[in-house]
Structure formats: C-alpha cells, structure tokens
C-alpha cells in the first residue's frame, strides 16, 4: 500500500465536506443542520492541517485553531437563536420558520 500523503487527507476532507453539504440540503431539523455545518467546518480543518504539514508551515494549524474558536462562538449564538425561536413559536421546523422569506 502507498504511504499516506496529503492527497489522501484532502480526499477524505472533500468526502466529509460533501456529506455535510447533503445534510444541510435535506434536513429540516435546524439542530441537525447545525451539526452538518460543524461537520463541514471539521472537514475544512482537516484540509488546513494536512496542507500545513505538506508545505512545512505551522500556519495551517493556526488557522484550524481559529476556525475552532469561531465555531464555538457560532454554536453558542445559533443554539441561543433556536431556543428563542422555540419559545416564541413552539416549533423549530425549518420550513415553518420563514419570517425572513420574501
């Protein structure tokens, strides 16, 4: 078997990103949509770390750390919004909550 190179990690990252994109497209539960977004962010992190190792730079890891910090803030705000919507409308079905839809 071939040794594992950055190409393998980038391929795995692309697969995980596409699976997350499918979930964002077909799910109606906003919490699961959030989880799929987290999956896509994780896939991007894997690509960043793999490219950083490939190019011999620590910058990929630094960017991955900042992505994690931003993801933490995003989840806190997003779940707060979901709880708030559930309180006022008793449902969080993404097709029922269409206040901003034209």
């Amino acid at each position: 078997m071939d040794p594992i190179t950055a190409t393998h990690y980038i391929g795995l990252s692309a697969i995980l990103f596409a699976i997350g994109a499918v979930g964002v497209g077909i799910k109606r539960n906003p919490i699961v949509i959030f989880m799929c977004i987290e999956l896509m962010l994780n896939a991007a992190n894997l690509a960043l770390v793999a490219m950083g190792k490939h190019l011999g730079s620590i910058s990929g890891q630094m960017m991955a750390i900042f992505v994690m910090a931003v993801a933490a803030a995003e989840v806190a705000i997003g779940l707060g919004i979901i709880v708030s919507i559930f309180r006022s409308r008793e449902t969080i079905d993404i097709d029922e909550v269409n206040l901003l839809k034209l």
């Binding site: 078997m1 994109a21 497209g25 699961v32 910058s59 890891q61 750390i65 989840v75 969080i92």
Partner: protein, 170 residues
C-alpha cells in the same frame, strides 16, 4: 509506514460511516453521537500528522464542549424522541445529492491539481503547545491580532447567547 497506512484506511472508513450516520439518522441524539465519533477520528488524524495541540483541542472543545451544548439543547427542547420532522420531500433531496456530488468532484479535482508531489517539504512541522504558543504570540506574524480579535468575538458570543436565550419579562 505500512501500519500507518492500514490505520489510515480503517479510520477513514469509520469516519465516513459515522458522517453518513450524522446525516442519515432520524434521531438527533444519535446524529450527535455519530458526530462525536467523527470528531474523535479526526483527532487521531491530527495526532498522526504531528498536530498534537489541534488534536487535543479537537477532543476538548468539539467532542467535549460543543457536542454537550448540542445534546443539552436537544434535551431542553425535547427533540430526542424519534423525530416527527421528516427530511425534505420531493425535488430537494435529489437536487441536494446532485449538488453535493458536483461539489465533491470539484473539490477532489482541485485538491489533486494543487498538490504537486514535488512540493512536499521534508522538514516535519511539529504542533506541540510550545510551537503553537511561539507562533501565536510572535509579533512578526499575523496571528497575534487575530488572537485578540477572537477574544472579543468570544465575549460578544457569550453576551449574545445570554441575551438571546433569556426569558422576556412582558
């Protein structure tokens, strides 16, 4: 290297299976647990690439803090039962699958194009806490300013979450 590559393939298969479970499972609690599995697999990949700090933070922050927050909200809103919210029906499912297939193809194509085999750097870059700290707080690099901005962002996130989730007194 042989054991390394066998481990990679086993873990990659586990990781993709868990990611499919995140999307395919109707129960959000099981989706969350599958996502924890994905994150643990990714953490092993980070350790395998010498990014020890990122791998540890992956487990502590993602699999620990963020997933606990997800499970907490699922149980708070009582969504743990087999889900009454089915997936989208009709045209959006094949459209989403097709769009993601196109996305996967273009991502894989771009990745295969960009990684020229000759450009690999032999000097291994280590991601220990010491190296990360030196890079993060080096004034000659762009990360220090980003670090300060991130602290402000997290503060805004905490305040915003409290304001959003508080009970209106009216």
């Amino acid at each position: 290297m042989q054991g390394n590559s066998i481990g990679f393939w086993i873990l990659a298969a586990l990781c993709i299976a868990a990611a499919v479970q995140v999307v395919a499972n109707r129960n959000p609690v099981r989706s969350a647990l599958a996502l924890v599995g994905v994150m643990c697999c990714l953490s092993v990949f980070y350790f395998a690439q010498g990014a020890e700090f990122v791998g540890a933070v992956q487990v502590i922050v993602y699999a620990g803090a963020i997933m606990v927050l997800f499970l907490f909200v699922i149980m708070l809103l009582n969504l743990g039962a087999p889900n009454p919210m089915m997936d989208r029906v009709g045209l959006s499912k094949p459209v989403a699958l097709l769009a993601s297939a196109v996305l996967l193809g273009s991502l894989a194509f771009a990745g295969a194009l960009k990684i020229a085999p000759g450009r690999a750097v032999k000097s291994p870059v280590s991601g220990t806490v010491q190296q990360i700290g030196y890079a993060l707080f080096d004034p000659g690099r762009p990360w220090l300013f980003a670090f300060e901005l991130t602290s402000v962002l997290l503060l805004v996130g905490v305040v915003g979450a409290v304001v959003l989730a508080q009970r209106r007194s009216d």
